[in-house]
Amino acid sequence: MTGAAEADLPAREAAGLRKLKPDRPRIAVGLATCGAAMGGDRVYRRFQEIIGAGGDDIMLTKTGCIGYCREEPQVNITIPGRPLVILHRVDADDVEEIVTAVRAGEVPYEMALCRVPSWDHVTGTTVEYGGGFDRIPLYQDVRFFSHQKKVVLRNAGFINPEDIDEYIAVGGYAAAKTALTEMEPDAVVAEVERSGLRGRGGAGFPTGLKWRITRKAPGDEKYIICNADEGDPGAYMNRNEMESDPHMLIEGMIIGAYAIGAREGLIYLRAEYPLAIRRLELAIAQARTCGLLGERIFGTGFDFEIRIVTGAGAFVCGESTALIASIEGRTGRPHPRPPRLTDIGGGLWKKPTDLNNVETWCNVPVIIQNGGDWYARIGTEKNTGTKVFSLVGKVDRVGLVEVPLGTSLNTIVFDIGNGGSQGKKVKAVQTGGPSGGCIPVRLFDTPVDYENLNRVGSIMGSGGIVVMDEETNMVDIARYFVNFATGESCGKCVPCREGLKHTLLLLNKIMAGKGTEKDLDTLGLLADTIQKTSLCGLGQLAPNPVLTTLAYFREEYGALVKK
């Protein structure tokens, strides 16, 4: 059989650049789920009506999300020779004014958040937009952005996620080409090892090592899987990564499959992310058309296909063995390891399988493009690279932030997030979702990395940071997360199934003012038992909110129990 046509990257790159910097004004509406939820789709429809009525002098398109959720809906304006201007909090009623200004070669200053004269897409491509509009603040002077370092989110909010040409124009698929045509698979693995990249799903296992183990596992048939079952309350990093830049994930998986020796990749994607599913399906189809998926990719002997498998609404299916069971059509319940996924008999259809989180895969192209050493210089010695966090809860500037690992909670919550919303005092943050712990403000000098978060009783998790202020009752917070975990427990092992239920009952009793000091002791012992004896990570980590609030906010429990 003859292979697909070799990908014509230069032609696509040129086409993409013409779309990013057209010879007429470009208006791009931020249309990830968050933007649409805030009214972005209404704004987009209004633009369609108004621009459509006046001819095709303006190019209207979509982008993903730049991460500043508080300021949605956002609209990017690119006038030839001028900087890209990001408008914020745009309403459908503002559209007419915007179009009138743009047709006059201007932008409405009062709606402008910032301007971007040039944007570094990190992979060696810098898009120069132009000068002018000096009254609008520069991107790097906006405090929400100034402490961030965009690596994974380098394209998010700038390119159209539904157009492969724009991804290629900003350096996309160059890393895949380099890996497949110039590097041996072992060299690719070595480069990832050199980068120090660790699993972004939360456990922090060295990615290169996992790849090497899977590569060395016996057998010709192997699988790679992307875990996109992001389900922590308040966490949506992966959603935005897939909605704003789906090709980055696909490229990472192509490189990983080549390095590991897999011919098939799966994306286990939760059904609650319909837009991510749609954009990834589109991106996979585009990549296939361009010969980037399928047979003989880049004219090499390497064949690779990606298929999406949607979940059915179970949080526990993010656990690796339950995820495999779910893909195979069985009930999503974890089973004891070993065998590990990377072992023969432990993975998908009993074949050795490499499972990585969305963000882990997204880090791969830039590592290959810029080198493992370049990547290892970001962050700290044992925690390299950047991490995307969703900064939510009672914080002033809500949004997705990307910072080098090792950045302190102070920087994230106060410098980037500007402290509590409505000027209230911040009391604590909860990191790592329902499995994480609550960290009090006095420990906010803690650098955010895998080990230091464990040291204070929490975890990195997938990257949710929920901020609590002075009005938050910490017992109620523990109750909220235990309630979530109880509902999501698969029910297989007794500490998680029964233990969490009784933890919730005790917390309800305490919240109702009917608890006693003795109940607090029982609560602590029960949480400890669940942590030590549960079968899988869900149960082992679910008591963290209770254990940390008991340790750091015991007085709040004390105030609620009968004396």
């Binding site: 089973h335 029910g491 029964e498 969490l500 009784h502 009952l505 038992t529």
Partner: protein, 286 residues
């Protein structure tokens, strides 16, 4: 399953030494440690382990402390495989502490189960601090601990798949689809046999087996052609007979175990008196 996997490959398994509570014991390499420890008389409680089923690790009662390179960790003995020099402890203060809490959880989950009460009492736990689950309509009589043995034996051994887990988390129960009588059930009763807390109620009456715990499903019992007794579910008998060769199958069809034994004995006596060979063992050549 291949012969290799079930240990019939002809090569004897390598024997290893494991240490249980300071005592050296022999075990087959790769053997489930719980199985070896029970053979050696160690007192390890367990509810979800059954040698003929795949390791499951759900009841968490068989947790032991493993010492490896000077570091200790707690693991379930039913999912742990024997390796040379493996050292486990079954009664450290830590194990006892957590095991007692688990017993308290079981006492609250299955307050009607005498088996659980007796087992917990053997380890010194006689009361629970947790709210007891009271469900007067429970077809499993407040005795199910969701060890999964019935579901697994129905699926893995019998291949019937008549029962399964319904719901999740604390709402998990075992039942047939929609809790109705399930025609996939062949009435074998393996579920009731394997249940550690005797929670599953099955009754034979009027020529039928009634699955009280499984939606009241009814399976016709086969009647012995000789003595007239109802002896086993018809579907199970048919499935079992299908595995036999024709002469034996035809001879045994429609007989209860007692009449079967009598029929075979009579036949043996008749054949031996004539000095012939047992045709049941060596099929006749056609």
């Amino acid at each position: 399953m291949t012969h290799e996997e079930i240990g019939l490959s002809g090569t004897p398994k390598k024997s290893v030494t494991i240490v249980i509570d300071g005592r050296k014991c022999r075990a087959d390499e790769g053997e489930i440690v719980l199985s070896a420890a029970l053979r050696e008389g160690a007192a390890i409680p367990h509810l979800c382990y059954e040698a003929s089923l795949d390791p499951y690790g759900a009841c968490r009662l068989c947790m032991v402390e493993v010492c490896h390179n000077g570091k200790t960790s707690m693991v379930t003995a039913c999912t742990l495989h024997a390796t040379e020099g493996l050292e486990i402890r079954t009664d450290t203060p830590e194990i006892v502490k957590y095991r007692n809490v688990l017993f308290e959880l079981y006492l609250a989950e299955a307050p009607k189960s005498d088996v659980i009460k007796e087992m917990a009492a053997r380890y010194g736990v006689t009361r629970t601090r947790f709210l007891k689950k009271i469900d007067t309509d429970d077809p499993l009589g407040g005795s199910c601990v969701l060890c999964g043995l019935c579901v697994r034996v129905c699926n893995e051994i019998m291949g019937a798949g008549a029962i399964g887990f319904v719901n999740r988390g604390p709402y998990t129960v075992v039942g047939t689809p929609f809790f109705e009588a399930n025609t996939d059930c062949i009435g074998c009763g393996a579920c009731a046999n394997v249940c550690p807390t005797h929670a599953i109620r099955i009754e034979d009456r009027d020529g039928e087996r009634v699955m009280h715990s499984w939606g009241g499903g009814r399976v016709r019992l086969a009647q012995c052609g000789v003595c007239g007794k109802y002896y086993a579910p018809g579907a199970l008998t048919a499935a079992t007979l299908a595995r036999l060769l024709p002469p034996l199958r035809d001879d045994l069809a429609g007989l209860c175990p007692a009449c079967r034994a009598k029929r075979i004995a009579d036949e043996e006596i008749r054949v031996n008196m004539r000095g012939g060979a047992d045709h049941h063992v060596r099929p006749r050549r056609s």
